[in-house]
Amino acid sequence: MLEHELTPRPPAPNGGPRIGVYVCHCGLNIAGKVDIEQVVTFASTLPDVAVARDYKFMCSDPGQELIEQDLRDGLVNRVVVASCSPLMHEATFRRATQEGGQSPFYFQMASIREHVSWVTADGEDATGKAKALVAAAVRRVALHEYLEPRKAEVQPDIMVVGGGIAGIHAALVMADAGKHVYLVERESTIGGHMAKFDKTFPTLDCAACILTPKMSQVRSHPNITLWTYSDVVGVEGFTGDFTVRVRHRPRYVKEELCTGCLECIEKCIHKQGKFEDEWNEGLSKRKPIYIPFPQATPPVVVVDPEACIWFKTGKCPQTCIDACERDAFDFEQTETFDEVKVGAIVLATGFKTFQAERMPEYGYGLYPNVYTSLEVERLLNAAGPTGGEVVLRDGSEPKVVGIIHCVGSRDAKHNLWCSKVCCMYSLKLAHMVKERTGAEVYNFYIDMRTPGKGYEEFYDKILREGVHMVRGRVAGVTDEAASPEEEGHLVIRAEDTLIGSVRRIPVDMVILAVGITPQPDAQDVRRMFNISCGGEGFFTERHPKLAPVSTFTDGVFLAGACQGPKDIPDTVAQAGAAAAEVLAMVDRGFVMLEANTAHIEDELCSGCKTCVGLCPFSAIAFDEERKRASVNEVVCKGCGVCVAACPSGAAQQHLFTDEEIFAEIEGVLAYV
């Protein structure tokens, strides 16, 4: 639903365009390289320019006031600001233009910071380029039409993608505020990584005790629709009005009937678990019908068709069906789909841990007693494969344990970034392994990074407990014994940079503190939601300081480790922030849209219908009698496909007319 916010006004008063050019110093960001005075003098000589001024910070209140005053005085009726990029401040200056009494679209920006001063070595070159860009903007803005902003209603419902602690927290905050939230999780249970941990640093409180109540709240909340074993397969629309398509994968069990009594698992024809249990990182075996862990939410079993005898051979007494008193089984289940309209989306898709196999020098996969930290989290967990006992693959208890920090992190060969949580969780693991087994624990670290409330104090506590700290990057893990004491042990070779010597430390168990990496399908997800990510794959926030939970796509927000490595407190804080921003947007009730819709110049239209089929929003109608196409500008989203495709130049787009674009190009070329 679109409507005009401003009442129509006559085109620019007193005839032709009178352009004001405002050149920003941006402190020394621009002025340090570009000769501002030259640019201002040059601008004042350009056709239609009524006034050219400069100011230290155009975006500040006095800077904006300069523009508004000139507009109010009738000195100018169109505005060019030469400053940073439109991404940064186009909205700011459009608002100023509107405050001054003009259409916000009588404005054009010339980026002389990002495109000039920051990227040009020579001052003279920079000044020349700044002039050319100003000239281009001046020529363009002179042709701008009188347009009005469009306003669109916001759909009240919200989608959260990912059911880890970030998604859970964001969903609960918004649902408590009275919004309807769709929470989509691709695993069969919500909880994410946090549900795998036994305890959390630095307080050592039990992860399950703080997480499972929130999980059950999600399930019972009247405002939350929980879709597990489901994924988003399509997103259309724009901020305030997204249409999201969700696929539900078959569990072969009716979710609404299953009570989680687990009788069927007991009665399965497989007497023992036989298949790798993903939830326990492969440290135990499960049956073809299983539940990841007893507190899974929803507490609904899943049938693995790759493992189930019925699916593989069609011959099975199906004792599971007999065991089910609720008649919940449905072996004919197929994928189903839902399509919902939401106003905003929170992405909380989480992370994956670094694949330890990628550092073969640490022997993961080669030596059985080399574990990843996530595996040890499962060993420590009371609901894990060993009931919380830390034992080696042969069932014996380790007497010496080595924890290697920064596996895959801070490493030019793998990931350059610090994963932020590994120092702290390694200390936690050191404490817990020592507590459970009494083993001597060695931590091999590059630097200890413990910034956070209570974190350094935790480090201090662990040191006092007698955990050995060796400062040095580990060279390798080997089973080569150089002395009788090393026989039968794994040997960690590392340089101890504090005592200045190379050490060989025989251990029974090696724990690799694997770092945090983006999800392997982060690229697909970001494409689907039309957001950007860094070269490493973490989703990019709109501004690293001032807009850390929004993205460059309005209406799509970020929470948790999908945006970068984060511990639980930071993740929850960010999820709350994302929820607050969504609520602000949804409660306002409308969003302002670009005026960049397309239209067809009736007399130029040849009636070829090329545009009609191409329009992704079915916004183009065709009059068979007159053989002319026309655009419904309420439905048009301004994608520009028809404009590019029209062979006769009849399809034109507001803010991107051929004349405007050619004038801009000419402006650049005329002054280089």
Binding site: P360, T478, E480, A481, A482
Partner: protein
């Protein structure tokens, strides 16, 4: 030498070590390649590869030395085709690869090298490709052909392949950097049993004094490093340790008595080159393989078959053996 028809001829860069202390490597390489129907032509007028102490004095000048060798190889084979330059010594192999990279990477070094070559009337179009014989044996000649040429399978012989540092570092053009297997696959093709051991790429100590009498500058460090390799190979049941670097081979073989005295533990591990092992399995005369140059060579293997047996598969290959 043999009159056998050869299908491909490679430019061979021996370098100082494989031409001197490790000449058995070059000898056995020629013999095995020819036996398989491939020829080697020594690169005429080759010079030092620059993998000496020079890189730490002036890296660009060290590159210039290798660049001349590569330019020579291109000069000897006019045309547009790539020229494979084989370097057996892994020190040379790495030095030549580094020069190849410098020649192909735009920058001040590339300009300097171009000028240096121009001063002696040469230039490089980047056609020279530095290859290691193991790469050629595995990926061009192929395991099938090698298996066919085996007349004396080394059944039951346990072989520890020692890759050393430079075959796979810093460049890994044909094998895994952490767990190389190329030599083990060759060993398997000979009917022998590869020994899986964790030290196949651990330093032999040769780098403690590179380019001269090994175990020279830091005897204690070098001895400890070599000793660890020999001890572990013996512990894993190896009958023999084979390498692809003259320095490694020399280090591993030459000081075993001194090690035994120093570490108070008997050390007696035959050490040779992979190509020598291949030649033996192919029934090539031990003299041509330079076996007589080794200090402690022995293989738990049946004696060489009668010459008649050797002739049979060789005839199939299209020529008689020498």
């Amino acid at each position: 030498m043999s009159a056998r028809a050869v299908s491909t001829r490679y430019a061979y860069f021996p370098g100082c070590s494989a031409d001197g202390v490790g000449r058995a490597f070059t000898e056995s390489l020629y013999a095995v390649f020819e036996h398989l129907g491939y020829g080697l032509d020594e690169l005429e007028d080759w010079n030092c590869c620059g993998a000496t102490a020079w890189p730490s004095v002036d890296q660009d000048q060290a590159h210039a030395l290798s660049a001349r060798n590569l330019a020579l190889a291109e000069d000897r084979a006019p045309g547009a085709d790539p020229v494979d330059v084989l370097a057996s010594c892994t020190g040379c192999y790495r030095a030549l690869l580094k020069a190849q990279e410098a020649l192909g990477t735009a920058g001040p070094t590339q300009v300097k090298l171009g000028r240096a070559l121009a001063a002696i009337g040469l230039d490089s179009e980047g056609r020279a490709r530095v290859r290691h014989p193991v790469d050629i044996l595995l990926n061009e000649i192929g395991l099938d052909r090698i298996r066919q040429a085996v007349v004396r399978p080394l059944t039951g012989v346990k072989v520890a392949s020692y890759y050393g540092c430079q075959l796979i570092r810093p460049f890994s053009t044909f094998d895994d950097q952490y767990d190389p297997t190329s030599m083990d696959r060759l060993v398997e093709a000979l009917g022998a049993e590869p020994v899986d051991w964790p030290l196949k790429t651990r330093c032999c100590g040769g780098s403690c004094y590179c380019g001269g009498p090994v175990i020279g500058a830091m005897p204690e460090a070098t001895m400890q490093l070599s000793y660890a390799l020999l001890r572990e190979a013996a512990k894993r049941g190896a009958d023999v340790i084979v390498s692809i670097c003259p320095l490694c081979q020399f280090n591993l073989e030459g000081f075993q008595d001194r090690m035994a005295k120093r570490f108070g533990h008997p050390v007696d591990m035959p050490s040779g080159f992979i190509t020598q092992l291949m030649g033996i399995a192919m029934g090539i005369d031990e003299k041509r393989l330079g076996i007589h140059r080794l200090l402690r060579w022995r293989l738990p293997v049946a004696p060489a078959p009668e010459p008649a047996a050797v002739g049979a598969p060789a005839a199939e290959e299209g020529g008689g053996d020498a």
